[in-house]
Structures are given as C-alpha cells and as structure tokens.
C-alpha cells in the first residue's frame, strides 16, 4: 500500500496527464459524434504525432540543460532538402543512405549550435534564433526556390513514412524506438545523467569533474541529429520538400515539452512525461478539426496552451513551496 502511494506521488504528473488525455478523448468523442475513437483516426493521430514526439525527446535534453533550440524547424528543412535533392539526382540510393545523410547534416547543425552556446557562451535563444535564419537561408539557396516533388522521390523512400511493420505505421515504430533509446540513455547511461547534472547546477557539475562544455554541446548535437532524422521523415511523409518546410515547427515541440512537465529553466524533465505531452498536443491538433474548430484557430490555441501550462506549472510549484512552509509549523 505504501509502495503504491509512493509510486502515485512520484508519478503524479504523468498520471494527471493520462487523466487529462482520457477526459479530453471522451469529450471529443462525444462532440464529434463518434468520429474520434475509431481505429483509423487513432492510428492517424499516432502517425501525425510521431515526428513531433521524436523531436520532443531531443528538445527535452536541450531544455534540461537550461537552453532552448529555435532552429530545429530550419534544421528539419535543411536536412530534408539536402536529402531529397541528393535522392533526386541519384535515384539508386537506398532510403537508409538518405536517412543517414540527413542525420549527419542534423548532427553538424546541432554541433554548431552547441558550440555557440557551450563554448562561446552565447545565450541559447540568441544563438539559435540567428542559426534558425542561417539554416533556413541555406535551405532556400540549395532549393533555388524550387520544390522537390513526389515525382522526384523514389517509392522506397516514401515507403519509409507510409509503410507498416506488423500493421503499425513505420513512423510510430520509429518513435517508439527513439523513446526507448532516449529513456535508457537519460536514465541508465552516465552521459545521460550528466545532462541532468549540468542542468541542475553547472557550477557543481564542473566542480565534480563533469566536462560541462562537452555535455551541453552534446545535448544540442543530439537535438540536431533528431531534427535531421525528423526532417527527412517529414519530407518523406508529405512527399514534398521545399524552403518553407516545417516553419514554426519548433513551437509545437516546445509546447509538447512544456505540457510534458519539463521545467523551462532547466534541471528536470522526464521522457515519459514528454511522451504524454506530445500525445496530448497531438490529440488537440487531431481533435480540433473533428469538433469543427477552424484551422486558423490552431496557432493561437497552441500559444495559449504553452502560456497556460507554464503558468500552471509555476502555480503548482508555488503551492508545493507554500505547503513545505506550512509543514515547518512556525
């Protein structure tokens, strides 16, 4: 009993996320007249959310270090554009080669961001805001203003996003794999724990012999790798690659993290929480058209969700502190 209680309190955040997801599902199911909880729609929802949730794992690591990465939308576009442009001119290349290429581009971009933040000590928001434009600009130059269309891609390549394994969409499978790897990395690998340590206190981490520059740079590099991967999946899924690919997508990802309980000032955040945050956001995106909310509303609602969840997070935190004070019995 005691154990159960302890489990409950240790995971109260995730449990309440699940509750919200359930209640919201019931509400949407009711309002949409039974169009929500169909196998088809749920599988759509998961497929739509897969890319977002993959990115959220990377963003969480960056936010844990106390940073942020606004450039990921641009990195996705860049990796997608380079990948598909190479494919267009070398149709014999296997999808795997293209994916590896895209991840490589992502790693390079992330490494640059990480170096700017960790080594040159530029505020993350400024560094990644600047690089957001640099990467986007390069994408336009490579594309030369033209789109890479469906006809330019090979069927095998598009199969990456639309194919299924055991009846489950490839993207969902990949997201599951990314989460499993992310979970193990952040909980059971020393390097992963170093990210938390640096986010908790950079000074302490330095004193205990952790190479903070390398650790922070690693978080951005992983973010870049993930963004490169997600970028190529994104263009495979929509079968088109262009300069405007994934503009503003970073806000989706940040929203998923904040909804998932990642502390925006660093130090805390859990893979399971972020997964639920991404699902919750995916559910909202999926449900809005079903209950006839115009797509023009979606942007504002997303912003409002971020704002409200950070405010609620701080109210919870204040409440916890007030409780601790009352416990002191003075």
């Amino acid at each position: 009993m005691n154990r159960l209680k302890r489990f409950f309190f240790a995971n109260i955040r995730e449990i309440s996320s699940i509750l919200v997801i359930i209640l919201l599902s019931i509400f949407v199911e009711y309002r949409s007249g039974g169009n929500f909880l169909t196998v088809e729609n749920i599988s759509d929802l998961l497929t739509e959310t897969a890319i977002l949730s993959i990115l959220a794992v990377g963003m969480m690591m960056v936010i844990i270090t106390g940073g942020i990465d606004l450039s990921i939308g641009s990195v996705m576009a860049l990796a997608g554009m380079i990948g598909t442009t190479v494919l267009k001119n070398n149709r014999h290349l296997s999808p795997l080669t293209i994916i590896v290429l895209a991840i490589g581009i992502g790693i390079l971009s992330g490494f640059i961001n990480g170096t700017l933040v960790a080594k040159l000590r530029i505020l993350p928001i400024i560094a990644t805001l600047g690089m957001m434009n640099v990467f986007r600009g390069i994408t336009y130059i490579i594309s030369n203003g033209k789109w890479v269309m469906q006809a330019d891609m090979t069927p095998e390549f598009m199969q990456v996003a639309s194919g299924k394994i055991f009846g489950i969409n490839n993207l969902v499978v990949m997201a599951i794999v990314v989460y499993a790897v992310g979970y193990i990395f952040l909980n059971f690998i020393r390097t992963g724990r170093k990210i938390y340590a640096v986010g908790n206190s950079e000074e302490s981490a330095r004193v205990s012999g952790i190479n903070t520059v390398r650790t922070i740079r690693l978080a951005y590099t992983i973010m870049g790798a993930v963004a490169g991967f997600a970028g190529i999946l994104y263009v495979a899924k929509f079968a088109v690659s262009q300069g405007e690919t994934a503009v503003g997508y970073e806000m989706n990802v940040i929203a998923a993290c904040v909804l998932g309980g990642v502390n925006i000032s660093g130090g805390t955040g859990r893979v399971q929480g972020v997964l639920l945050g991404a699902l919750l956001l995916g559910l909202l995106n999926n449900a809005m058209p079903l209950i006839k909310i115009s797509s023009f509303w979606q942007e504002a609602i997303r912003g409002l969700i971020i704002l409200l969840s950070i405010i609620v997070n701080s109210l919870i935190q204040r409440n916890v502190e007030a409780k601790a004070l009352r416990r002191r019995n003075i």
Binding site: N133, V134, G303, I310, Q317
Partner: protein
C-alpha cells in the same frame, strides 16, 4: 597599534572623472562607425548614383520601420529580458487597425485602436512577467508571439485589408522638405530614448535592474512597474511601427513583419547592448540600425537574394554576441579581438 578607526579617516576620495584618450577611442561605437563607412564605401563603388541625398533618404525609408522598435527593445534587453513577440504585435495591431477601418471607423480612430492594441499586447507580456517573476521572458514572449499572430490570422484568415485614405500613405511615403517623415520620427524617438536612458532616474534604474534585480529591489526600486512600463512601451512602439509599415504597404495582412524580431534583436545586440543585460547605449544601437540597414540595402542593390541576406543577418547576430566571448574562451590576445571587445562586457550567463 590598536585603534584602526582613525588611521584612514582623512582619506580624500577624488570626484573628478579623468578623460582617457585611450578609453575614448577603444569604444565599440568606433567599430560600428568603421563598419558603416566601409559598407557605404562599398555601396558607392557598386552604384555611382548611390551617394545622392535622395537616394540615401529612400534607402533609410526602407528599414526604419524596424528601427522604431529597436529602441524600446534595447531597454528590454538592457533589463536582461527579451521580447520575441514584437513582430506579432505589429501584425496584430495593424490587422485590428485595418479591420476597424473596414468596419467603418474613421481612419484616425482606427489608428488609435491599433496603437491601443499594441499597447495591450505589451502590457500582457509585462503583467505576466511581473506576476510570475520566475518565468523567463523568453518563453512567455515566445508563446504570446504565437498567440498574437494567431489572433491576427483568426481575424483575417488569409485575406488582407487595404484601400486606406490617401493621407494615410504619407506616414510611410511622405517627406518634410526632402526628409522622410519616418526618419524624422525615428530621430525624435532616438533622442527621447537616449534622454530617458542616459539622463533620467528611469534609465539609471533600468541599468540597475539589468545588473541585479535583487539589489534594485533592496534599493527601493519598484522593479515590477519598471518592467511593466518597458514591455508596455515596446508594445506601443511596435504598434507605431506597424502604422508606418501599413502605410508603406497600403494594406494589412496577418503575416506582415514575419521575422522582424530577428533584425530588431540583431540591431540591438550589434549596437553593443549586452545580451544578458545591464550594459549598452542608445548611440551604439542607432549606429547598428544604420549598419544593418545599409548592409541590407547594398546587398539588395547587387541583387543578392533575400535568403542570403537572411543568412547574413542571422550570422551577424551570432557573431556580434560571440566576439567579446571569443577572447574569454580562446584566451587569445589577438589585437582585433581585444579591440572589438572593449566597451562590451563579457556576457556571462
């Protein structure tokens, strides 16, 4: 020995500021002046017609709508905060102004409504930050950025509103003598903000808060109201910029001014305002506006695409912040790095 009390009681403390020629010339502003001269020299060599008064005036008209937001943004960054939502505030206030006009409200009133909208946006940012001091302005304005532009697209979807009265076009295109109205406005604004920052209590307190909010609080400064004022001002001036922009374009759309925040922040930071707050001045910021503005204009003249310009401005933003930090992390005493880092403190997180 013994009583140490009186040993130094008669010490004289000097109250004269010595003028140091070296310190005077080792200011970041000279670097900006040099950049400005080089850029203009290159522009002249590219186009012989460039060095003509009217031409330069027209060039300035191109980028001054951003400049209007740069000065209040300098205050925001001096405070150690950031406001990503300025471009969205411009979009929302111009859309609301446009809709008001479309719905039959006279243009002057519509302009006032637009200005009030911008002020409200800034006030919302400010009040959230004051009520929740534990939240960073980055995440708050990041979310209001989406909200404001989101509301603009709810209101106008993908449509646009235009057909403003002809006199409205004067804001963007009009001239007094041969000087554009927008330039006159920016000059007056710059002088106002320079006075505010460098001569008044408000400015001193802004610097104090940028250095340490805690010390400021303990010194009896109403830190909340200063923060609120600065963010509200930023909203108001974004709306003013939106009026000029709408006047220049002749119509309003929800996606106007997209990406402007990058140029605006880049101008502030290049102007020597430390990105973590507490240091910088209006002169540097004004010079940086000209540097980035003429750079853009010159690049446009030789048909460099806007995408390349985007890369250059993005890189400039990063480099402007990186240079002073470079010395610290590399530890080199290269004269160039040394020179460029004077006047800017290292920004430590």
């Amino acid at each position: 020995m013994g009583d140490a009390t009186n040993s130094s009681a008669t010490r004289i403390i000097s109250a004269d500021r010595e003028f140091s020629i070296r310190r005077f010339f080792l200011q970041w502003e000279w670097m900006l002046v040099a950049m400005l001269l080089i850029i203009n020299a290159v522009n002249v060599s590219l186009s012989p017609n460039y060095a003509n008064f009217n031409n330069i005036m027209n060039a300035m008209r191109d980028f001054l709508d951003k400049a209007i937001v740069v000065f209040p943004m300098a205050f925001v960054i001096l405070l150690g905060e950031i406001d990503i939502s300025v471009a969205s505030t411009m979009a929302l206030s111009s859309v609301i102004m446009g809709i008001s006009y479309r719905e039959g409200i006279p243009m002057p009133t519509a302009i006032v409504i637009g200005l009030l909208t911008g002020t409200a946006c800034g006030f919302i940012n400010g009040i959230v930050l004051v009520k929740f001091p534990e939240l960073s302005s980055m995440i708050v304005t990041l979310s209001t950025q989406i909200i404001f532009r989101g509301i603009a697209s709810i209101l106008l979807e993908t449509k646009s509103v235009g057909g403003f009265p002809t006199w409205f076009g004067k804001f963007g295109w009009g001239k007094v003598g041969s000087v554009p109205i927008i330039l006159l406005f920016t000059i007056v604004e710059a002088m106002f903000f320079a006075y505010l920052l460098h001569k008044t209590k408000f400015g001193r307190r802004t610097y104090a808060m940028g250095n340490s909010t805690t010390v400021s609080r303990f010194s009896g400064i109403k830190t909340g109201s200063i923060k609120l004022t600065i963010f509200t001002f930023t909203g108001l001036f974004s709306a003013i910029a939106a009026v000029f922009l709408a006047s220049k374009m002749g119509s309003v759309r929800p996606d106007v001014a997209r990406g402007y925040e990058l140029d605006i922040i880049a101008m502030v930071v290049l102007g020597g305002v430390e990105s973590s707050g507490g240091k910088g001045n209006i002169l540097g910021t004004a010079l940086a506006i000209l540097v980035i503005g003429f750079l853009r204009y010159g690049l446009g003249m030789v048909n460099v695409t806007s995408q390349v310009i985007m890369i250059i401005v993005g890189a400039l933003l990063v480099i402007a912040v990186a240079i002073p930090n470079f010395k610290e992390s590399i530890g080199g005493a290269n004269w160039y790095i040394k020179l460029t880092s004077i006047g800017k403190q290292f920004n430590k997180r």
